[in-house]
């Protein structure tokens, strides 16, 4: 059965069954993945899948069923399961569907450039791998060399007359290399999303990846202690990814964030402005509405260091007595989620940030960010890679590092912000950031 026909039938049957409030979330996605190893296409995979969540509100509760089976014979089963799930739950707070008539913003999504269509993808990957081995004799192994492209379409329709849909296409390629010198092995990766002409040039991607890895060779050790820190842009974006949950109203409820009573208070250095912006042009998570169908809006979370808002879905907004912020997850999950989440650019170039820092440590990579963070206290201890900063310039590579601190203190301790904002594929972004001395230990 075709998806449109199925959704129509499910909608009608739900009405006939006398369901009071219900919602259908539908997503269809296609993608293909190519991998090259040792001069050959090692593996290809393709997918073309659809997924439906059907949710029913009974009393205060919303119950759901997840299904990727869209067959007429299952419509009654889908309705029965979702309704039974809703009736079973004992939660005290009310859940909502969105149904107000609202204008939806027009957004500009990230898409591959026109020239990408003409690209011979197999050839691109083969030459990417070849270029990496040819780049420098210290390149030990191209660990991974891949290209993924696809598209998705998502739609939400409910009994409160909400009916919205949108979609996107994407393509990205990446390479992950290791280099070896004097028995020391270092790795680095680079990726492109084909949204500018230079992304079609494999040489350029290889150059960046290999240079990044080579710079890490011949590391030196420094005594453990407190050092002024400059985080590379993408590296601070990774830290933001770790701490983003602090700003979720759902995390405040679960006592996983201490920011619940800090609205209007200074929680970060005055130079910090933090946004969640689903309307950002060409962003990884640019969208016109959230998972609950609520229109997207730009949320300034921190302005000049002061906490302006938490991020809400329909349920938490009602509970906290505020307007929703358009950060809901739909389907059966009904949580709070992020879009393009980033620190706004400052005025200084990366060179100026380094110069004004003088001496310290430049951090480029973090490891173990999932395990080394306490959501209760905000304390963290991560593995890291980095370089010495001497006389305002990046100097020698450093042996394996650990960096420890506390996310609440870190926000307050930011001293300089660069103007080189960069996003990671998880849609967190930051410019380079200099902070007051932090605890570093070096192997």
């Amino acid at each position: 059965m075709q998806a449109q026909e199925f959704i129509e039938k499910l909608y009608q049957t739900s009405q006939e069954q006398g369901l009071n409030q219900f919602q259908i979330d539908y997503t269809q996605s296609e993608s293909s993945n190519l991998r090259v190893m040792d001069g050959k296409i090692e593996n290809r995979s393709f997918k073309n899948v659809q997924h439906l969540s059907f949710s029913v509100k009974e009393g205060k509760n919303i119950g759901s069923i997840e299904s990727d089976k869209l067959e007429e014979e299952d419509i009654l089963l889908i309705i029965k399961e979702a309704k039974e799930n809703a009736l079973l739950l004992d939660n005290e707070e009310e859940n909502f569907f969105f149904g107000e008539k609202r204008e939806y913003p027009i957004v500009k999504k990230n898409t591959p450039i026109k020239d990408y269509e003409k690209l011979d993808k197999e050839q691109f990957l083969l030459s990417l791998e070849k270029a990496a081995y040819a780049k420098d004799k210290r390149v030990k192994k191209v660990i991974s060399c891949y290209l993924n492209e696809g598209k998705y379409h998502t739609a939400i329709r409910n009994s409160l007359s909400l009916n919205v849909s949108e979609g996107a296409t994407w393509a990205f390629a990446g390479i992950y290399v290791s280099v070896e010198e004097n028995g020391i092995i270092k790795t680095a990766s680079e990726y492109v999303k084909f949204d500018k002409k230079e992304d079609l040039n494999p040489e350029l991607m290889v150059q960046k990846a290999v240079e990044k890895a080579l710079k890490k060779l011949n590391p030196i050790s420094i005594p453990s202690g407190k050092y002024k820190i400059v985080f590379e842009n993408e590296c601070f974006a990774e830290l933001l990814n770790v701490m983003k949950n602090l700003f979720s109203a759902a995390a405040v409820e679960e006592q996983h964030s201490k920011l619940g009573d800090k609205l209007g208070q200074k929680i970060a250095a005055a130079c910090v402005t933090l946004l969640d912006n689903p309307l950002l042009d060409n962003g990884y998570r640019t969208r016109a509405f959230d998972g609950e169908g609520y229109p997207s809006q730009t949320n300034v979370i921190i302005k000049n260091g002061v906490l302006q808002t938490l991020l809400h879905n329909l349920r938490t907004a009602h509970k906290f007595g505020v307007e929703p912020t358009g950060n809901g997850i739909g389907g059966g999950e009904r949580g709070v989620f992020y879009s393009n989440f980033y620190i706004e650019n400052g005025n200084l170039s990366q060179d100026e940030v380094l110069q004004q820092t003088g001496d310290g440590v430049y951090i480029t990579d973090l490891t173990g960010t999932h395990a080394g963070y306490s959501i209760v206290s905000g304390d963290f201890s991560f593995g890291a890679e980095g370089f010495l900063i001497r006389n305002g310039k990046i100097d020698k590579a450093l042996n394996q590092l650990t960096i420890s601190g506390n996310v609440y203190e870190l926000l307050q301790d930011i001293v300089l912000i660069g103007n080189d904002l960069k996003f990671a594929p998880d849609a967190c972004g930051a410019p380079c950031v200099a902070v007051k001395p932090m605890q570093i230990s070096c192997n």
């Binding site: 393709f46 997840e66 089976k69 399961e81 799930n85 739950l89």
Partner: protein, 460 residues
């Protein structure tokens, strides 16, 4: 689920560019889960899944494509897209799809739909209540119940047409106890290829009270000492060490890529002569059992190790080609979004001759790791570390006091050689095993065994 003629067309399409083998796997699943906590029904979820995966081989290269748009046009298109990945010139492969005759074991007695979710949740709340009432120190009891019915079809260009239905259910209970500033949790579960008869013939009150007692007793456990000692590992879930540190190394997934310490060791002594071990997917109603594997090969009882000598690996079709071996019915996947590969089912060390009492009485000084917890193993070196959930010190052949925080550290090869007593109380325990073809239900098992000289990491 799909018409035979359509399936034949799909396979023919898949072979059109030179593949020498093609298969289609179709899956239709309904799963339900319930969660109760704080005397309330906190969550109830349902998941309906229907999709197909098409795999084509060209020698040892392969392509995998999957979809859940199950109309004729799209299925043929998916086969075409997959076939485009192979360019070695069409071979003349003819096949005739014939039903694979299967002994369909594990039939259920009480279908899942014979009780409402409310009735099931009420039973969960009742079992939780037994735990809450067992001791004033128990402050929380959480229960989880999951049920799943999986219909599968595997058809391939060797002419295999294998359809099967498996129903699985599992129940978990955990209890949290508090005293002064200490909090300790304990849990247990049971499951298998059962309908609602899963709960029949069990003393549920005793089960819940044991979980409660386990969490309470941990409140007064002392810190475990560190050092090398003889360790008696309890039966049932104790087999997790064998599963992780040895079982994975016997999967063709690793052996074919020369990434296992057991490569090239067939016929060699890899364990103490007391060790005989099987992977047996045919055990009635066991959690890890299946009738036919996910590439259409009937399952077997495989002797892995006999009196310490390595007898066989677990071999799937693709890696079998790499190793020059026949597949032996162990290829599995979480669902249609994964290509299958060799995996374990019910993997266990067989019974020996000693009783558990004899094993403990013969141990002058050591640790009794009665209930194992989680752990990890490095696939390349075989080194593992596991935590012990419930452990006791053994002094002069007697269990003296409960200890906590124990970790066992070592390597799989070493432990296998150092097993010097094997009990006669083999039992199986449910688990979920994660690997490249996703998470699948497996059981681990063993009788009580003694291993000489393991490094125990404690906090003292």
């Amino acid at each position: 689920m799909l018409d035979k003629n359509l399936v034949a067309e799909i396979l023919t399409e898949a072979l059109s560019t030179g593949g020498d083998y093609a298969e289609i796997f179709v899956e239709n699943t309904l799963a339900n889960n319930l969660f109760t906590s704080e005397r309330k029904i906190k969550n109830s979820t349902s998941d309906l899944s229907y999709g197909a995966g098409i795999r084509i081989f060209d020698g040892v290269n392969f392509v995998y494509a999957y979809t859940n748009l199950m109309d004729r046009e799209n299925l043929l298109k998916t086969a075409q897209i997959a076939a485009k990945g192979i360019k070695s010139g069409q071979k003349d492969i003819k096949f005739d799809l014939r039903d694979l005759e299967l002994e369909r074991k594990h039939r259920i007695q009480k279908p899942f739909e014979s009780k409402s979710k409310k009735e099931k949740a009420d039973l969960m709340l009742k079992i939780s209540e037994y735990a809450l009432n067992a001791s004033p120190l128990v402050c929380k009891a959480d229960a989880n119940y999951g049920e799943k019915t999986r219909h599968t079809l595997l058809a391939n260009s060797l002419g295999v047409w294998a359809e099967d239905t498996i129903a699985r259910s599992r129940f978990f209970l955990s209890a949290i106890s508090q005293k002064d500033n200490l909090t300790e949790a304990a849990g247990d579960n049971f499951g298998g290829l059962y309908g609602l008869e899963l709960f029949d013939g069990r003393n549920l009150q005793e089960f819940a009270e044991n979980v409660a007692a386990d969490s309470v007793s941990r409140l007064s456990a002392e810190l475990c000492p560190s050092g090398k000692m003889d360790v008696v590992i309890g039966n049932g879930f104790g087999g997790v060490i064998f599963h992780e540190a040895c079982g994975h190394g016997l999967e063709a997934t690793r052996v074919a890529l020369n990434a296992s310490v057991f490569c090239g060791k067939l016929g060699q002594q890899i364990a103490s002569p007391l060790v005989t071990a099987y992977d047996d997917a045919t055990i009635d109603h066991a959690w890890g059992s299946i009738n036919v594997d996910d590439e259409g090969v009937k399952t077997q009882r495989k002797l892995l190790i006999e009196n310490g000598i390595l007898k066989s690996y677990m071999v799937d079709r693709l890696n079998g080609r790499r190793m020059g071996m026949e597949p032996n019915g162990c290829s599995r996947r979480q669902n249609y979004t994964f290509a299958p590969t060799s995996r374990m089912s019910n993997t266990f060390i067989a019974n020996g001759k000693s009783t558990q009492d004899e094993i403990i009485a013969n141990t002058e000084k050591g640790l009794f790791a009665e209930k194992m917890g989680g752990g990890s193993v490095s696939p390349t070196t075989g080194e593992f570390n596991f935590s012990v959930d419930r452990a006791y010190l053994i002094e002069n052949g007697k269990i003296t006091k409960q200890v906590k925080g124990a970790k066992l550290i070592g390597s799989g090869q070493e432990v296998l050689q150092n097993i010097d007593m094997v009990g006669n109380n083999m039992s199986l325990a449910c688990g979920m095993c994660g690997s490249i073809s996703g998470k699948i239900p497996t059981t681990v098992g063993q009788p009580t065994i003694r291993v000489r000289n393991i490094t125990v990491g404690g906090q003292k």
